[in-house]
């Protein structure tokens, strides 16, 4: 029972506008990722949800209650910070105990020495809660250590523990994995996703790493320049981006973007190659986006672009070829299988063809151009294509 909804959230720092009227509904138990390049406003948005930042306009609503004017401590949210923000002078157990003490004990029960004596039972109960959470996160052996004695990964767990221990309505995470090394980061991705499933609590997760967003979230909101460009599940965001900037941001290696043309009937082509799709209306400055996996090596001939291999990126399971086409005016990245790549070396001429129907068209302003009369377009005859060429 903890949907979080934002309506018309705007934020400016002085004259700089950081967020433009954001509306967002987070469902109960959802893992929602706010992803975007640095400076897109994602962290600010998270801090507005937390209450650490006051919005310049709009409102925050948690579980049906307007909390715009409620201070962070009373929103019952937990936050995991990028730097973990553990109290360096307290042990892990004391760190985890802090939110419990501050919420559940009165001023006198929190008083040093006197408190534990007065309310021994309560202190015991809190300690049990800490132990339980530590057990879930497998950090029991670390409870008596101070943050300075922990490795990055252990600190990360301790910070998670401090957030989990009091069972908040939602977890807010601000790039929690960015301080870990690459291998641990990949490992923690899976662990966080599992933790989310086990807890069933809402997670709102901020990251600049599109891979984290793709791998962990139920839904991801791609943000740029203070706007949410697209909010959808990872599969759709990747496969069906609503905006050229989304298409370029999500996916690695990056999508190939080439200048395209549309004739008066809306038939699309790029670099003289037909896309075999049509768009409604006429547009100038169209861009065509094709993901590397939708380009394949082919024989010379129709429908293929010829170019020269300039670089081979070997990732083990996949091999990406960087191919200069049109005398180096454009560079394409195409995926090849190891078997195909074996025969290819740098400076070899190759031909690259597109997988039919995979190209996407974007208007000059960046938004996606949907294809019209899909069926008709696929039935276009070779003659017509030639005419276009």
């Amino acid at each position: 029972m903890a949907t979080i909804s934002l309506s018309g959230i705007a934020k400016s720092f002085g004259d700089t506008r950081v967020l433009n009227t954001i509306d967002l509904d987070v469902e109960d138990g959802e893992f929602l990722t706010l992803v975007g390049p640095s400076g897109c406003g994602k962290s600010t948005l998270l801090r507005i949800i937390a209450g650490l930042e006051a919005p310049s306009g709009g409102g925050v609503d948690i579980g049906g209650r307007d909390v715009t004017a409620v201070r962070p401590a009373d929103r019952n949210l937990a936050m995991v910070f990028q730097s973990y923000a553990l109290y360096p002078h307290l042990t892990v157990a004391e760190n985890m105990m802090t939110p419990l003490k501050l919420r559940d004990l009165s001023f006198w029960e929190r008083f040093p020495i006197l408190g534990p004596v007065l309310a021994r039972g309560k202190h015991r109960a809190l300690r049990d809660q800490v132990d339980e959470t530590a057990g879930v996160l497998k950090i029991d052996p670390l409870l008596d250590r101070k943050p300075g004695q922990l490795s990055g990964g252990q600190r990360q767990r301790a910070a998670l523990g401090r957030a989990m221990v009091r069972k908040p309505v939602a977890f807010l995470m601000d790039e929690p994995l960015s301080n870990l090394d690459a291998a641990l980061r990949v490992h923690m991705r899976a662990e966080l996703a599992e933790l989310h499933r086990a807890l069933g609590t809402t997670f709102i997760y901020v990251t600049h790493d599109q891979a984290e967003a793709l791998t962990m979230s139920d839904r991801m909101a791609v943000m740029m320049h203070g706007d949410i460009l697209q909010l959808d599940n990872p599969r759709r965001v990747y496969g069906d981006p609503a905006d050229l900037r989304v298409a370029e941001f999500v996916g690695s290696p990056k999508i190939n973007v080439l200048p395209g043309d549309a004739d008066s009937d809306g038939r699309l082509s790029f670099l003289g190659l037909p896309v075999k799709r049509r768009i409604a209306g006429s547009h100038g400055g169209i861009s065509i986006g094709i993901r590397p996996e939708h380009l394949r090596l082919s024989g010379a001939g129709e429908g293929a672009l010829s170019g020269i291999v300039r670089h081979v990126e070997h990732l083990g399971s996949d091999i990406f070829l960087h191919v200069d086409i049109a005398d180096g005016a454009h560079r394409l990245v195409a995926r090849a299988t190891p078997a195909e790549a074996e025969r290819i070396s740098i400076a070899d001429p190759v031909n690259v063809a597109q997988v039919d129907g995979a190209a996407m068209a974007f208007a000059a302003e960046g938004h996606r151009l949907r294809f019209s009369e899909f069926g008709a377009a696929s039935r276009e005859t070779p003659q017509m294509d030639k005419a276009v060429a």
Partner: protein, 306 residues
């Protein structure tokens, strides 16, 4: 790397000076403290522990210890407390914080001797600005305060020459001069506290400013506090300028402001009693070194946040 002897030329002057200027004098003072040496005399008698015995039995030196420790005991807590208070207030301001910082730091920059002379003048019983300002408060609500009413009837205190007030007045000037320094150190400490810790505290439910202070600010200022307390102790142990300016002879009314540095100066330089001066020097050094060692121990004991 090719063996080079460059380092000898680099460190030799420093080592030589350290030994001659810092270590040898300690040895000399230690030796002289067992004699009745005075400058100009051909020789000196070995008197054993007599100098030390005097220091710990004569009432003059009892007054010296009382004055020194009273001064340190007043100045250290107040400069540290006011320094912290001012730093917290200034740090929490939205604007104008730089102006206060500048003003509070001015006394640190000004020559203490010059300011002591000005204070002496400001505290002058008849023409001083302090008492004339206080006198204007007579007849107002301030008279509810017994001390104030009595002072209005008679006169306001002779701050520097009344033995009941002298040490406190000198200590006040020490506080006036020193707290800005501590404030700046605390401000540096405050700006180095990661802001995320405050945000974490807020998320954890630290609602009141006091909770946040207790949970984050005070523990994070721990190393600063250790340093500030030590440096304040050492500085106030060394107080001399004000005392010499106010009381060139004798150390104030009934020797109530007879601090150690002044005692060394008076005994050794003015009265040419080098033996006793050396003994006070050794005791003084003992205090100061103990303090610094205590500080180092406290700092090293702490586990730092990587």
């Amino acid at each position: 790397m090719v063996r080079s002897h460059a380092h000898i030329w680099f460190v030799a002057p420093a080592i030589f000076l350290m030994i001659v200027i810092l270590l040898v004098p300690i040895g000399i003072a230690a030796v002289l403290s067992f004699t009745d040496y005075s400058l100009g005399n051909p020789g000196a008698e070995w008197v054993g522990l007599q100098n030390y015995e005097r220091i710990f039995t004569r009432s003059t030196y009892e007054k010296m210890f009382i004055a020194t420790f009273t001064y340190v005991g007043v100045v250290v807590p107040l400069t540290v407390g006011l320094g912290l208070g001012a730093a917290l207030l200034i740090h929490s301001l939205n604007r104008f914080s730089d102006i206060y910082k500048t003003i509070y730091f001015l006394p640190v920059m000004a020559a203490l001797l010059a300011m002591a002379i000005v204070w002496e003048f400001a505290l002058h019983p008849t023409i001083g600005i302090v008492n004339s300002t206080l006198a204007q408060g007579c007849g107002t609500f301030l008279e509810n305060w017994n001390w104030y009413a009595r002072s209005c009837e008679r006169t306001f205190p002779l701050w520097l020459t009344d033995k009941d007030y002298a040490i406190w007045t000198v200590a006040f000037i020490g506080v006036w001069q020193g707290f800005g320094f501590n404030m700046v150190l605390y401000l540096a400490g405050l700006t180095s506290i990661p802001r995320e810790l405050y945000h974490a505290a807020e998320m954890d439910g630290a609602r009141s400013a006091w909770d946040r202070f207790k949970l984050v600010t005070w523990p994070m200022l721990g190393p600063t506090t250790v340093f500030v307390v030590t440096i304040s102790c050492i500085r106030s142990f060394q107080v001399f300028d004000t005392v010499e300016a106010f009381y060139p002879q004798g150390g104030g009314p009934s020797k109530s402001v007879y601090v150690m540095m002044f005692a060394i100066y008076e005994k050794a330089i003015q009265q040419n009693l080098m033996g006793i001066g050396a003994a006070i020097t050794i005791i003084f050094l003992g205090f100061v070194m103990m303090l610094t060692l205590l500080q180092r121990w406290l700092v090293e004991r702490r586990v730092h946040y990587a």
